[in-house]
Assembly symmetry: D2
Homo-oligomer: 351 residues x 4
């Protein structure tokens, strides 16, 4: 391998699997930066892409491409038009690359740009030794956070926004689904002063992690009725706020049935199928509820908030990061996740 090539995880063909192979090292355009990846993390969509799930197929515009969007990296080179980023800076990539001209972009909401391009989905991502990122999708770290933590700021930001919108201060919170997003949310909610965090999950490893992260009550959703458990824990009122982070079929309806009148529900897990609400009067209309969906992090308020929250060690997310593999062992990393044993998994392109 020479300076013109690099090793990368590649989605080469429209079928399950990833290759690990040598590809040309990219060159930054005038408004891009070239970064050397220090650490990358595997997200749910990377798994869907690996499995070549229909949802993943619908996202992808052309093959081959390099997946991965959660990363911590060092800036090696900046394009000629880039002003505010310097080589040597430690950065994360913001997955959402906005167009800059649509209604959302001109109204303070670039993260939900109408013409959104996704890093690691629509353009090559970070499961590689190097990557190019548009300067407008780069967040420069200021606190010396270690790479394995900084690498998780992106998904952690989703959880933070979820907790902010759920507003659990002094209330009972149901976190339904304890993957990394749900587990991060539990840890943040504990620090926000949630009065009672009820975590529901089907995977026993993750249920255990929920406890570690600070859930007051854990519900094994394979055995217990989540709604009944929430009612039991809340004197029959229901939870004042709910974060749905499982994406399971039927989960939104279940979560609505768990919500207290006047409550807030945030849906973070992409539903695996249509959302159907049958008991519309009690579960929807009489609840006087607020339901939010979120799509990523605000640019860059959320990043500033998550970095601050993690920099002081206020929230310890180490337990969620169960495995780290050399990037070349991507197949093992995927196997660890698919077995249900691993929770958050990171890849080290330099190991």
């Amino acid at each position: 391998m020479n300076a013109e090539s690099m090793m990368a995880v590649v989605k080469a063909r429209p079928e399950p699997g990833y290759d690990y192979t040598s590809v040309p090292r990219p060159q930054p355009k005038p408004d891009e930066v070239l970064v050397r990846i220090e650490r990358a993390a595997i997200c749910g969509t990377d798994i869907l892409l690996y499995k070549w799930d229909p949802l993943a197929q619908s996202l992808i515009k052309e093959l081959p491409f390099i997946p991965g969007h959660e990363c911590c990296a060092e800036v090696m080179e900046v394009g000629a038009a880039v002003r505010s980023i310097s080589p040597g800076a430690t950065v994360c990539a913001e997955t959402h690359i906005p167009c800059g001209g649509c209604y959302q972009c001109t109204h303070g909401l670039p993260h939900i740009c109408k013409n959104l391009v996704l890093f690691g989905h629509h353009v090559n991502g970070c499961f590689a030794e190097y990557a190019v990122v548009p300067a407008k999708a780069v967040y420069c770290l200021t606190t010396g956070l270690p790479a394995e933590t900084a690498c998780l700021l992106e998904p952690f930001g989703v959880s933070l926004r979820g907790v902010q919108e759920a507003a659990p201060e002094g209330k009972a919170l149901l976190v339904n689904g304890c993957g990394p997003i749900g587990l991060f949310a539990i840890a943040i909610a504990v620090r926000s002063g949630a009065a009672r965090i009820i975590a529901a999950e089907v995977n026993p490893h993750r249920l255990k992690l929920a406890e570690t992260m600070g859930a007051h009550v854990t519900v094994d959703a394979r055995q217990a009725d989540v709604r009944q458990a929430v009612l039991d824990q809340t004197g029959g009122d229901g939870a004042g706020c709910v974060i749905e982070a499982s994406g399971a079929v039927g989960a939104v309806a279940t979560c609505l049935s768990c919500l207290r009148k006047g409550g807030r529900i945030v849906i973070l897990g992409n539903p695996k199928g249509p959302v159907e609400i049958r008991d519309v009067m009690p579960d929807l209309m009489h609840k006087e509820l607020t339901l939010r969906t979120l799509h990523g992090r605000r640019m860059y308020e959320t990043w500033e908030q998550v970095e601050a929250l993690l920099a002081d060690g206020i929230v310890d997310i180490a337990p969620v990061l169960t495995h780290t593999f050399p990037m070349g062992r991507i197949a093992e990393a995927m196997a660890a996740i698919l077995s249900g044993e691993a929770c958050k998994v990171e890849l080290d392109p330099r190991a």
Copy 2:
């Protein structure tokens, strides 16, 4: 008839129809007031009760009872424990009678009390010459609003909250369904400075009223594709806010598909059947939306706001009130509504 009796509309049997008959005049308990009804208005649930619709049946706990909850009345007598209301006061009834002790009642949300009793549903209502109302469900008017207008403060308050939550200032607003609630919402949104109000409806009389109330664009939902019409009117962006006021099957999903990314949707119409959202990624998750359901008026902030809004004649709701009948002609009133010709219909118990 004597001082001990009065004429009233009565739901006597578990079957379609209402009777108009003489019943005993009620006596106020210590915490109640006796009012003489000046004017009452027919709401959607009164129609469901008339038709003995399954939803109506599920609401009702025992027969016979007097329906009706929208009214303007004069206080005749107050119970021994009532302090803040005096005979002679002009009042409206708040439909929601809170328990006072539940979580919602002790947290500033009595209007969505866990143990809500509904005036005109669970207890006798206002389609009568006289009614008793718990003092805590009485709003005293302060502005000399005429009875035919004051009678509509209750539903108007629902529309006001809908517009407040939709926040249409400077934005495109879709009002889906132009019954009284939707029409009131249009009139309020015009005064709020909505940039473009698109009204969709299947009934041509109501579509015409939507225009009268200030809609910039009307869409005949029998013929046109509402989603396409909204996209056409908004440069392909979708409406920044949506008020669903039709309750039609499929309406929530349609409304979600009309919403701009980052938009707000308020559901006011009780859905006639399950809510199903099929295109979950584009219509729900990638929208980063805020969805609200509302159940009535805040007690009594909303009442204060609607009275102020109507007192100065800022909003003219007269066009929505298409018919007024003597209360004894309740059958004709119902027929006018069921024919689709009438919009809001009032009853005069003294005519």
Copy 3:
């Protein structure tokens, strides 16, 4: 005069007065547009500049310059780098020209940019036949609003934000000071459903205009005690919200004393001297108040909102515009204002 020159109002020397004279017609830089002024309006700071008031002196960086920032204009020519504006467009200038790189600019608050440059203060303004404006400080109108109305969107936007922050729905509102900003605020508050608008002012012409714009009660501040009047009108509670728009010495303290516990106060009038609050416990600490200052319009949400509000004729601001002069008669225009007779005065550069 030829294509290379134009007539303009000029502040030429560090002393009271304005000249009306021929100056070179400006050329747009790559990121600027050249506009032909249809109508300009005189703002309070233009008067301070005319009088060469110390506050005005502190704002100004160099002489000579062309004052004026409120205008409606037609785009004649756009710089090479300007994409979203075309010749022929009808536009207003946003007075605040942001730097684009500071904290505020990168956090959705460019209107309070740290390095703000003010159109008509720091750079040449609109009291001329033509002007150049940076593209980022141009708002394109979409509704065909007449120039004499569009010309007032800029100050009207300040009033709109004031009312939004005061939140007078269903409440008593004190508007202290009935210049154009206060008068606009009254008209907007009426449409918002303020329950009772109390307007205080020392100028009898303006007090009369306050009534025209919809104030329920007017208080002649030369004769009456404003605080006592507010208490009388509010059952001794004080006003739920206050907009201070006079800038008078002592006005902030008076307004605080008029505020109900839990109220909101918005300061729009630039105080002519230090603000001093003597009764700190009752007027500040025990009030549990929210005080806001505002500096201009949000870019461009506020503009979108004011255009929508005026486009439908919901708010009629014509009475506030008492005089229009050919621009060459700037001295007469100033005299009309200084005499106290005129309220809002516009200049027509083409008359």
Copy 4:
């Protein structure tokens, strides 16, 4: 001493000092509860009352009376009309006793009741073996928090509201004044993810405590220029939010000068003299700021929130509680505070 008497701290005469003496044990009225004090804490106003400061004199309506309002207690007996509190419950007293009938009380703001009666100021307080408290001013604990911590929920709630209104997430926060209120605020802000907490104080013991509680930077206000220090720490921008908790003369103006444009300032310290703002344009008008004053805790949302925050040990407030004295040694307790050595001091009536 017998069942009819108890020991209490008493303000007996209009002069400095407190007595510790035997007084009759109070009897609860029908809507009151009798509590046995487990622990009481000394607040700033108790010190002003001790010193017989003019502000304290203005608060007090008659002598003699028992001071003290921060406490944790056990319910011994409940009045005949009390439903929701039972003997044996562990409770705190809410200092603010609302009337129940005024505008604030009927609009969700009883804590700033127009006719507020203050426990330990207007009526006998908790520096005694027993106290009576109106049922509506009693908060029942649910979490088994130890008495020495529960005793501090009342002032801690003020700090929590201060931080909530300051909204320091991801921002630089100045806490000016590090008495218990400021120190609690620092600890809460750390957990909220404030990016940089700058604490300013004149007392070196308290400056040290600020560091212990998590301040990133401490400024000795006797030696350093607070404004300059804040600008240095924020790249010249100023702090995004400020909590003024010193009450020092001139502190509000200093804090305003430290605020970033668009920032939020919360004033918690009662200013010892008039508030004067001289540089009105840069420090007030051009800042586009939000200033809040707060008066106590929301009833009872704030209590629920602080109990949850402390119950899990998320925030450790032990370092702030520097001394605990038997209640009989009130004079020593006061001396410890007045010397500047003690920070928060508790009294144990049973030691």
